[in-house]
Symmetry: D2
Subunit: 458 residues, 4 copies
């Protein structure tokens, strides 16, 4: 699976700073490290203690921000957000963090996740007169918060979160306070770090690493953490629920050098590969190769466990830009080759096992398999380091509608034929879970088993 | 007075189309013709009958829009906006037209003007739970409209406009209807045109000219005009008030080739110059010259009436860009000369009358007068084609705070000395009004006489 | 006539500095002031005494250079060039100043003009082994210079200039010397200024004005001026010839605030207008108007002499950009109106005299006249402040081929009909010359009278 | 070793097309595939049979070319070039292919390589009157060619190549002929492909792959190949010399999916890793890891041969842009981590073997080793998949001056200490050569053994 061609849909990254004079610059770096979680838009909002300043725009972190920007973004509190590319929709209004003003107050909110009762809450708010400039859940939450702000920040957070269901990792910032909040199931990651005297919040630990912050802990599911000049204050106002960490963060979203949900992503993917080997003991081949880079780590694990040698038989072009001119004449496999060129000398006449992290719609996989065939592969067997993706996600991973999920409408045998494979095997759910010490019910597996921890009320 | 150096503050331009398949492209042209009313940001929203599409961004019309954009902006209804450059403030949230969604409805709103009871209405709305993403009046009106939408579009317009006071020329667009509305005093211009079967709305007639539309009439003060597939429907739900057309539109804002408030701007400025001549019968000089281009038309009128020959003794550099690199060493008169270079051969040893449209802060005028002195002028007399600007505007012209208005704190004699002039004379209020058939009370003269037609309640 | 629509072809601007530590920044300003002489490309070359640094690129001065560039352009000698936009041709290789290296020497050369024996000299050089990366005359001269450099800079200049014929104003810069040279007829302007201890060279005095330099004198026709640490040294190695100043510099090219050939351009154009009035004593109208800005100054002169009032009845849009999106549907007069909108109220039913500086191909004039007709003009009489342009220029003004010159193939009566005018009158050659104290043979009038001072050998 | 931080210096890529109507677009793709060989500038020159058209500019292929460009680049012959980034020097003049005009002829030349007698040839040419606009060898060759063109294209090629020594792979294009030429030692690669009826020339086969061309053969060392409407014509006018293929193409330059000099690059690097394992039989560790991506393939080979498991323990950020804002405060390992973040969980307490392709200056390697230490590595052993780089290259790889080569001034033991390694071992020259069937003297190993096949005459 690959960023530009078949990403599994919308996700986001959030980052916050309390107590560093270069808060905006640190946030720039943090968002840079989280860029893989969202490439459509980026925003940084800062506070100098008395007012908020922001720069938000469509585009990549490194394209949007210029050196001079940071003088315009003063203060020691910051809150940032990167957003995944969605297609077609009008998008300026969706750029986060959202900044709102009311009754002499103002705050900004950055959100990673998806509410399941958004439509209902929105209708209720609209009944009470709220209007919306975007289609985002985030704007709904800003309305709830604003309606409760007269009770104080703490109570506003509690009252608002009581109303909403689903998946969320929030960073909220007022003039003087940074707040982190995570839903009680803990669908999406959010962690706390420390950089000298400053506190850092980030979706993944790779962002802490880049700014030299020390990892402290995850924000707990159901926790609301307030950080201000008096230090940290943690609330858990709601009865705890079972954890439902999104297992797809391990499969695809998170960077392999990050820790999420208490596990290192690299290690987990590596273990997925080992289990794949155990589940397919009779599968032999001349070599195993990943679709880079998403399949790299499971392929390594598989190779180590199976003893089948690893090769990197498709080579990435590191200069693939966003503005590539499409060919008008017919060039075979162009869309694949522009990114990944197969090494024919390695492939010709060989029996190959390909490992990828997942198959969502199947289009990219098919093109790549065809590329391997054209390069002379004798047999192409595919191993997927996750179970068949059969159901849509309502908790923040907007990977296509159900009818676009190839595994929703087709058996594994059928998919094998569609993708022109010699064999196709997925990691079993049990195998996947065996890689973590937690019990099955600590994870959300809805996309794999259609069991939705939170009903999608609408 | 000049665009880049000392513009008298915020104003805006609006444009709308009903019933042309190239609505977005026509709006692009219309906004291009209205670019002088606002250079900070631009937005176009279109409807194809079932949903709204938009592109909004910071920048000039010709920089923001690219040829491919118009395929992404389909439909035969369009609403556009250009906004004046304000400094410092965060601005993404202020880009218009504002698009709002609620209760299965959506609309967009473009606004030229300023509400005088904005703070109060906003407080009331906040009491009822509204929150805001910007500091603009426009967002307030969208909240009023949304709260009334369940009563139908007509009633929503009526109920909302009943709540607000001040100056406004609105274009509102739903999926299938285009609405124009103008406050009962008629502060800001708004006119209706026709292009084949399509209706066009525009702040000034110069925008009609560019798209080949025929001028039909002004939207009346207090009128709400609905345009949909059944044609036009005009309402005047409120008791009429005296007109209070903003006289500064004639002085500076509107393009000379436009008609506003039933008058051609060029003709009015021309007449201002003639009256200036009548009011200063004894003032003689070798020649009269404008500060180009704002003073051109009054200077022509003055020259014709006084018989004093006209010269264009300061030459514009047409290539002045926005990103000019400032000198680090001291270059005399640089800020003036980069835009306007005096023709020394013409000026040396001469007694000169300079005509400009207005003096707001005086900084630019001083620099230019110094430039004339340095070029060898023996005497520099200045005539201003409007009365002294003594009071701030609360109806959409955000020209500086009162303390920045040089005429607010200084007598004409003092200003003459500050600007190092040999004499300084302003057009009298009576002289100004004598140029129009209307009575004094048809115009808002607040900036000149401190009489505010609508109290600034707050 | 107007820059973007029908400019009369290639011309250039040159600028040089000796002895100012901010030489590159001064050159940036100087080229900015000379931008009207060339908009296709710009280049600045500097010397810090031991080597040359350069930045050259396609585009406008203010777009090409960024603040950081000037640290990369150190030294107190500089040489800059702006080049007019030509169409179609490959152009990177034509960006000036040309920098050449050979035999441990290097220099750069900036050129305004056109050689008449270029083809022959080039053939000779090619016979001797020279090769060329561009089609420019300038590269030819660099070859001549290089072949003579072993004789020393002075002799190299003398030997090289002896070989070439035609029009040239050169600025040459070595590591430590700045050289100005002008052909013996003095076709193109070039002047010397002083800024404190530094010497400045510029095509027009408006560039001296902007950098606060004091005008010293013109470089004489046939003069070679060397400026180095020992001061200035002037040579006139060739027998003098009659002057042949390009009269079209007065007609169109030079900025009105400049002095060229010892005359102020504004004053000359003004006088052209007065003479036009004298030559057309019976022509009466409601008013006279220029096509702005090229016709402004003659129109003023005409109005003063004839007593016919002046109006500015077509209004410029100051925001016309280079990337305007063309309409796909038919919008009447669009190409005109996007730049100049007629003021109908002024024009309707009126008898109008229009003044422009020249008519080259006639296309733009026709469109504008049509615009005036459509705005309701009853009669449109045109006065051209120069004689009919009947012959091509071989001395640096590349205005179209002979067959594109409307006056080459048509009588004035025919042109009047083609342009749909009620009458058309040109300034006579005698009238034109009467504006200057010099004799006719001090000027090159080839484009008007087909008398070529230097044969175009080839 | 890595592109942005410590690339081993200048190299280039060339691409040519004869006989395809979309020659310019194919060249765009070809250069895209060769972008790793040069990122500073790019140029495409085409011929429609009667003249040359070109677009050349600083920047990446995908940034420089826009869709509309290809209409301006018509014709079925094309020649393209990408150039490596050099620092500091003025560079516009160095953009290739160079286009030259003379004596009614014109051609363009694209060059990959470096001449060893450039200074002498240039002096000779300068004696005969040649002048230069750049410091490039390529311009020298255009002079030689031009001086010989009167003898016809074939003889001009022969006479010119007779004069020059060193390394070159040329593509020359006239109006109707495409020519490939390679020096007699065959230092740099150049291959021929076929796409339907068209002929393709390319530095590496990966460029053939992308445009669907079939690999035909290498251009032979010493061969001059002419392609015109009559087909191909091959000359070998000079006595053959021993081959001296640049072994660094295998080590670093070429893409792993390319074949150069008859070998697949991936396979060779893989084998380098295996031999490294054989040469270090006692080196044990918890795992082996590459510095990605340059060390990937040798690391895989090493792992397969040694049985030591492979891990990818440093993770690339795929969004590293060229305009990243540098931190003003001290962030440890920032320059490393922004590109590569170590996976601490994998590294902590482990004994690690790191594989990279080469060490040039050592700076990057040191930073990365420090990063591994900071991530908790207990032991870091480094294996370099090439011998110590002790001598500069004079044949086209401009990797630093001798004094910048860490292995030039230091023993392996010293380098081990400088890089803070537990052990450091290089691949032996013998081991390296054992990977190819050819004899040692088929390769140029000058950077490793200081034996220069062609004297650097100067």
């Amino acid at each position: 699976m690959d960023y530009n061609y078949e990403g599994p849909g919308e996700n986001c990254g959030v980052f916050g700073v309390f107590g560093n004079r270069q808060a905006s610059l640190l946030t720039y770096y943090g968002l840079y490290a989280l860029q893989h979680r969202g490439q459509e838009s980026v925003g940084i909002v800062v506070s100098d203690g008395s007012r908020l300043y922001d720069k938000r725009a469509m585009g990549l972190v490194s394209d949007v921000f210029q050196p001079g920007d940071f003088e315009q973004l003063p203060g020691s509190l910051a809150c940032g957000h990167v957003r995944y590319s969605t297609t077609g929709a009008s998008s300026l209004a969706n750029v986060q963090p959202l900044v709102v003003h009311f009754s002499n107050s103002n705050f900004c909110l950055a959100h990673n996740g998806n509410l399941t009762n958004a439509a209902k809450v929105r209708r209720d708010l609209e009944q009470k007169g709220s209007i919306f400039q975007s289609s985002s859940d985030t704007e709904i939450v800003t309305h709830l918060l604003a309606r409760n702000f007269r009770h104080g920040l703490e109570q506003a957070m509690i009252n608002s979160l009581r109303e909403i269901k689903g998946a969320y990792s929030f960073i909220l910032m007022t003039n003087d306070t940074l707040v982190a909040a995570r839903d009680r199931h803990g669908f999406r990651p959010l962690c706390l770090g420390k950089l000298d005297d400053a506190y850092i919040l980030a979706s993944e630990t790779c962002a802490l690493d880049l700014v030299d912050a020390v990892y402290v802990r995850e924000i707990d599911p159901g926790e609301i953490l307030f950080i201000d000049k008096n230090g940290m204050r943690s609330l858990k106002p709601f009865p705890p629920l079972e954890h439902r960490h999104c297992i797809f963060e391990f499969v695809y979203f998170a960077r392999p050098d990050s820790n999420v949900f208490g596990h290192n992503v690299y290690m987990i993917r590596h273990q997925f590969g080992k289990v794949l080997a155990g589940e397919n003991p009779r599968l032999r081949a001349d070599f195993v190769m990943p679709f880079p880079d998403s399949g790299n780590y499971a392929a390594i694990g598989f190779s180590q466990e199976s003893g089948i040698p690893l090769e990197m038989a498709m080579i990435r072009n590191h200069y693939v830009g966003r503005s590539f001119i499409q060919p008008t004449q017919d060039l075979r496999d162009f869309a694949v080759k522009i990114k990944l060129n197969p090494v024919s000398q390695l492939i010709k006449g060989k029996k190959i096992i390909v490992v990828d992290d997942s198959i969502v719609r199947g289009t990219t996989a098919l093109n790549r398999v065809k590329g391997l065939r054209r390069a002379g592969a004798q047999e192409v067997h595919m191993l997927v380091a996750s179970p068949p993706c059969v159901s849509p996600c309502y908790y923040g991973v907007d990977f296509a509608r159900r009818e676009q999920l190839i595994a929703s409408a087709h058996t594994t045998e059928e998919i094998k034929n569609i993708l022109e494979l010699d064999s196709l095997n997925y990691l079993s759910i049990e195998g996947m879970l065996s890689c973590m010490a937690e019990k099955q019910r600590d994870f959300c597996l809805a996309c794999f088993n259609s069991v939705y921890p939170v009903k999608c009320a609408d």
